[in-house]
């Protein structure tokens, strides 16, 4: 398989958002208010919510989101730190 190339129009610009609960920083893009892209860097062990779910025996790939991070993203959108592409 050839190395995967992400085309320029498919490589979104990500804004850093730091979670108010655990301090994990992720890359975020919003194409609209209802659309959200979250790119994590490194593993998810620093996230308390995901770590707790993992400790409970769950696969974190089956956990839709961390609520604390979600709240931090929404706050960053409101504050204009993450600009919604319109």
């Amino acid at each position: 398989m050839r190395p995967l190339r992400l085309g320029a129009d498919d490589e979104p610009v990500l804004h850093d958002v730091t979670c108010g609960r655990c301090g994990t920083t992720v890359g975020v893009r919003k194409n609209s208010l209802a659309q959200t892209t979250v790119q994590w860097r490194g593993d998810t062990s620093s996230c308390e919510e995901l770590a707790a779910r993992r400790a409970a025996g769950e696969h974190t790939a089956r956990v839709s989101r961390c609520e604390a991070l979600r709240a931090s993203i929404e706050a960053a959108v409101e504050a204009g730190v993450v600009q919604v592409v319109e």
Binding site: M1, R2, S32, T36, W40, G42, T44, A61, R62, S64
Partner: protein, 390 residues
Amino acid sequence: MTAVDDTPRTIEAGEAPARFARGWHCLGLAKDFRDGAPHGVEAFGTKLVVWAGADGELHALDAHCRHMGGDLSDGSVQGDNVACPFHGWRWGGNGKCAEIPYARRVPPRARTRAWTTLERNGHLFVWHDPEGNPPPDDVTIPEFEGYGTGEWTDWTWETLLVENSSPREIVDNMVDMAHFYYIHKGVPTYFKNVFEGPLCTQYYAGTSLEHAATGAEIEVGQFEGQTTKSEATYFGPSYLVDWLEDSYGEMTIKSILITCHYPVTANSFRLQFGIIVQRIPGLDDETMAKVARKMTKLIGEGFMGDVRIWQKKARIDNPLLCEEDGPVYQLRRWYSQFYVDVADVTDEMVQRFEFEVDTTRAVEAWQKELVAAAQAGSPPEPVAATTPAV
């Protein structure tokens, strides 16, 4: 301002991978291999023989006998071993020749390729790794709670050989929000993907075309509250488990849909699917089995819609996406981890990635289309269930 480049876009077909994916691959229902005979399975560009030993354990070896090349799947089961139809050499599940009835001793190097097997939830899996390493302990298939206790119906099971296509097409469906409307007759109202490690999840909620065609207000952006709710996860490159809930008025049917495949050659694969349905209080076994069969038939029709597209579509490495599409490139980045050596798996391939699609515009447009069609006298055909995930 930057000028918009208006040269026509060219499709880059790329090439199908030269190797087969690393991971557990489901070969079918375990019970189908337990009839006392050896079974041939064309997979991974070769042929396997699968049989149950006298102890009930399922084994898989390369089908061609290392002695003179006989096809072991035409042979017979002798105790725990499989015997070649050509000269009677008997091979054990560990890949060693156990006995040659006409010889005083077995040559010391009489060993063939044994495939690591796993039986789970009534399915048989083999481990494929081009590097030849055993499966890591944390790469496995989950057990379904309550399976085998009578709480669920038995598996329905269908298989389909898809030629001149590659498994990437079916995996792409994980992020393909819009095709659920055009191919599977559903209206997705909530759509999200999460990739992390070797797992890839799709959250789908939606309503039926019939409901949308009434013009009733449809809420978007909520996972709860729609008539179809589905959480589907690929556990590795080929085994998709879809926990499904379909609501019909007061009644909710819970089911687990498996969609899996294994490569046959570099450009063909065998698609398999089956469902178990959670028992509904008050319904007898026969009625429950009928529900499962009916759902399987509908799912099968949905797959035929996919296959018709795959047969004629171009292989495309550079899809042109709009903002309402799901993360095709990131999905393929995730999927590529199974086609490189373990040492070459990059952080980008396995880091957690979340993508929630905005379905507002899509639902609006599709509902308008459906309402107009209904008013013009051609309402959508009633369907009892949609087919999320794929």
